[in-house]
Structure formats: structure tokens, C-alpha cells
């Protein structure tokens, strides 16, 4: 229980810093919106079939791009003031530091999805909210998975000069199953008639994926992030 409280406190610290400066949230949301606008121009053929076929990809590519930027930026903040050391020295288990960071990251990534999803529905006329519950579930699972793996590697890359390029180089190959699960679920939900069986298959898949990587991350965080 103490662990949860400590993790929540660290997550809340990150989110409070963000809520005061609003730096990452505003720029990232705007970036997400710009992506959707660019998609609408580069895939101009707005017929129903093309929309159902391309919107899932647009959604998950936006999450991938904006999420990477958020991860890099959020950890840069710890580096600039050299606060990562302070965080690691604080009298809480490293596990709490990791969990807190991951929760804060998941919230930031979700913020992008909150902007991108309605915009896709609006600009491309995608019926994304017909099965809003399932869609919300898969997006939350995707954000959580990305936050878990991303926090580990963003934290280990903290002192590396070329971290901005290396973070996606590491994350994207590892996260391919996550993006595939997200895209497959979204396109199953957009199908006519809707294919809930496939959607739930991939939701379960991503749930197991998240659980496996969460356990693994809790296991290796301490030995990877040593400063």
C-alpha cells in the first residue's frame, strides 16, 4: 500500500509540474492536431472505404509520434535540473519511482489520444465513438504499455547525447506488437458490421503484453537505471 502511495505521489509531482508549465501537454496536443490535419491532406480520398482502412493507422501513428516526444521531453526535465539523482536518492523504493513515472507518462500519452481521436472522427468522418468503450480501453492499454517500456528506456538514456534519436530506435521495434494490436482493434471496431470478436482478441493480447512488460520492467528497472 505504501508503494502505491509513493508511486502516486511521484506521478502527481510530475503531473503538477506539467499542469503549472503546461509545456508538454499543450505542444503535444497541438502536434497531434497538426498530424491529423496533415493526414487529411496526404490521404485526400475521403470515401468511406479508404477512411475505414486508414483511420486506425493514423490514430496509432499519432500516438506513437506524440508519445515519443512526450517521453523524451518529460525526462529531459529531470536531466536539466539534475533531479533524476535526487529522485533516485529519495527514501522510496526505486520501484515506486518507476511506477510513478510510468503513470505520469501514460496520462500524458492519453492526453494526445484525447485530442487526436475526436479530430479524426471530425475531419475524416470516422464513426470512432460507435464503440467508444472498446476504443477507450485499447487506447488506455496502448498508452500504458508505451509508458511502461518508454519510461524504462527514456530513464536509461537520460545521460546519452543522441537520446532523441535513440529513443524511437529502441522503442519502435519493441512496441510493434502494441501498435499492431491497437490498429487491429481499431479497424475491427470500424468494420461494417463491427467485428467485436477480433477487437476483444487484440484487447486481451495487449492486456497480456502490458502485464508481461510491466513485470519485466519492475524487475529490471533497478539494474538499468543506476546513474
Amino acid at each position: 500500500m505504501a508503494l502505491v502511495r509513493q508511486a502516486a505521489r511521484i506521478a502527481w509531482k510530475d503531473l503538477r509540474v506539467e499542469l503549472r508549465s503546461k509545456e508538454i501537454i499543450t505542444t503535444m496536443m497541438f502536434f497531434g492536431a497538426l498530424l491529423v490535419v496533415i493526414y487529411s491532406f496526404v490521404f485526400p480520398n475521403h470515401n468511406d472505404k479508404v477512411m475505414r482502412w486508414s483511420v486506425p493507422g493514423m490514430l496509432w501513428v499519432s500516438i506513437a509520434f506524440a508519445g515519443t516526444i512526450a517521453l523524451g521531453r518529460a525526462f529531459d526535465r529531470e536531466r536539466e535540473n539534475d533531479t533524476m539523482r535526487a529522485l533516485l536518492l529519495s527514501p522510496v523504493p526505486r520501484l515506486a519511482v518507476f511506477l510513478g513515472k510510468a503513470v505520469a507518462m501514460a496520462v500524458l500519452i492519453l492526453a494526445v489520444a484525447v485530442i487526436v481521436t475526436p479530430l479524426l472522427a471530425l475531419f475524416l468522418d470516422a464513426p470512432l465513438f460507435d464503440h467508444g468503450g472498446e476504443l477507450a480501453l485499447i487506447i488506455v492499454l496502448g498508452a500504458v504499455g508505451m509508458a511502461i517500456v518508454g519510461s524504462i528506456f527514456a530513464a536509461t538514456l537520460l545521460k546519452v547525447r543522441s537520446r532523441d534519436v535513440l529513443l524511437p530506435v529502441i522503442l519502435y521495434p519493441l512496441l510493434v506488437p502494441l501498435f499492431v494490436a491497437g490498429t487491429e482493434t481499431t479497424s475491427a471496431l470500424l468494420k461494417v458490421p463491427v467485428d467485436l470478436e477480433t477487437a476483444w482478441y487484440w484487447i486481451r493480447f495487449l492486456g497480456i503484453y502490458d502485464a508481461a512488460f510491466l513485470v519485466l520492467s519492475m524487475w529490471v528497472f533497478e539494474s538499468l537505471v543506476i546513474e
Partner: protein
């Protein structure tokens, strides 16, 4: 013994190479091709191209093995902090990138011959590509991540290894099932088994020889660096 490991393994590999080339080209019948529709060896859809199979499968199995070798070595490295485990992880990834490239190129040629496209997202091809991308990422991290490169790369190897079952499930349940080739080894005709086994052994010998050579050279590099530092400290070197 240790000193001779590389030349011995390499020599055995060279012999194995000649033997498997001989077996592949002289003992297997030419007209046997893989009929993708019936999913069995029959007909003549591949002709000569079928011979790529022996090297392709051997290369890809080495690729898979390397992912696990470097994953397990990375766990050992993070756990015991032994530089030796790190050397093995790094060496096996380096080598596996080359084997993976061979897998992808041969797989692509096979796809062209069998299905008339260079790339068709056949599940195993997809899986090889994804594993190869993880390995290339590992090599890039290793090269450019500065002082913490060993830790970051170890993390990547471990995450990559744990991700394998997910990639496997993912490509297996892909919603676009293409021409599959299930149960490769078990359905081989009796005359195709010896060359297949010979090339498997050959590529594993090569893999072992290259990995050991790479580990030794890394260790020698470290030793030279340390000696140089000692020399600098003592004022012998400038």
C-alpha cells in the same frame, strides 16, 4: 584449447560448407518445388530456387538463436555485472545482424520465386524482419549510446527476447494470412534431410566461430586499452 577454438570451428565450418553445397546441388533432385497451394513438396513451382531453402532456414534459425543468446547473456550481465556476459551479448547480436540480413534477402528471393512478389508479409518473414530490426537497434544503441550503452543495450536485448512470443502470436493471428509453409522440417522428403542438417550444422559452426572471435577481439581491445592506461600512468607512453 581456447586459443584454437576459432580456427577449429572455422575450419569445420568451411568443410561443412563444401559438404552442404555438394549435398544441396548434387544429391537433391532439381524438379522438386514447394507447391504453396497444396502446402507440400511437389510440382515444379520453384525449380532451382528451392535450393535457397537450406541456407535460408539455417540462417533464420541462427537469427532466432542469437536473439535468445543475447537476451540471456544480457540478463546475466545485469544480474552479475560480468563484462564477459556483456561481450557475448554484444558479439552474438553483431553476428546475428549479418545472419538476419542473409535470412531476409534469401527469404525475399524465395518469395519472388514461389509467390511472384519480393515481399508478401508471410508470417515468418515478418517475424524475422521484426527480430532483425530489434537487433539493428541494439547495434545502433551499442555504438551511439556512450558510456551507458551496455546497460541500455542489455535492456533492449531482454525486452526484445520477452517480446518474441508476442511477435509470434501477432504474426500467427495476422488478419491477412498469406501462403504459409507449415511444419517445414517434418514434411521434407527423405533426400532433402541430409543437406538440410548439413547446412544447419555449418551455419551454427560459423555462428560460434564468429561470436568467439568477436568476444576475443573485444576482450583484447579492452586489455590493450588498460595496458595503455597503465603505460600512461607510469610515464612509459606519451
Amino acid at each position: 584449447m581456447k586459443k584454437h577454438a576459432v580456427p577449429v570451428l572455422a575450419a569445420l565450418g568451411a568443410i561443412g560448407f563444401v559438404v552442404s553445397i555438394y549435398l544441396i546441388f548434387m544429391t537433391t533432385p532439381l524438379e522438386w518445388g514447394w507447391d504453396t497451394r497444396a502446402d507440400r513438396l511437389a510440382g515444379s513451382s520453384l525449380f532451382f530456387n528451392q535450393k535457397i531453402f537450406y541456407f535460408h532456414v539455417a540462417n533464420s534459425i541462427v537469427l532466432f538463436t542469437a536473439v535468445f543468446v543475447s537476451g540471456i547473456a544480457s540478463i546475466l550481465f545485469l544480474w552479475k555485472r560480468s563484462p564477459k556476459a556483456d561481450d557475448i551479448a554484444s558479439a552474438s547480436t553483431d553476428v546475428a545482424v549479418a545472419f538476419g540480413a542473409a535470412t531476409l534477402v534469401t527469404g525475399s528471393i524465395w518469395a519472388k520465386a514461389a509467390w511472384d512478389v519480393w515481399w508478401n508479409w508471410e508470417p515468418r518473414l515478418t517475424m524475422s524482419l521484426l527480430l532483425w530490426l530489434i537487433l539493428v537497434g541494439y547495434v545502433l544503441v551499442r555504438r551511439f549510446a556512450g558510456p551507458s550503452a551496455d546497460r541500455v543495450a542489455a535492456g533492449m536485448a531482454i525486452f526484445g527476447m520477452v517480446g518474441v512470443p508476442f511477435i509470434y502470436t501477432m504474426v500467427g493471428a495476422d488478419s491477412h494470412p498469406n501462403s504459409g509453409m507449415n511444419g517445414t522440417v517434418f514434411t521434407l522428403g527423405a533426400r532433402l534431410v541430409p543437406p538440410f542438417l548439413a547446412s544447419m550444422v555449418t551455419f551454427f559452426l560459423w555462428f560460434a566461430a564468429l561470436v568467439i572471435a568477436r568476444v576475443q577481439s573485444t576482450r583484447d581491445e579492452r586489455e590493450v586499452r588498460e595496458l595503455r592506461e597503465q603505460g600512461l600512468d607510469l610515464g612509459v607512453l606519451q
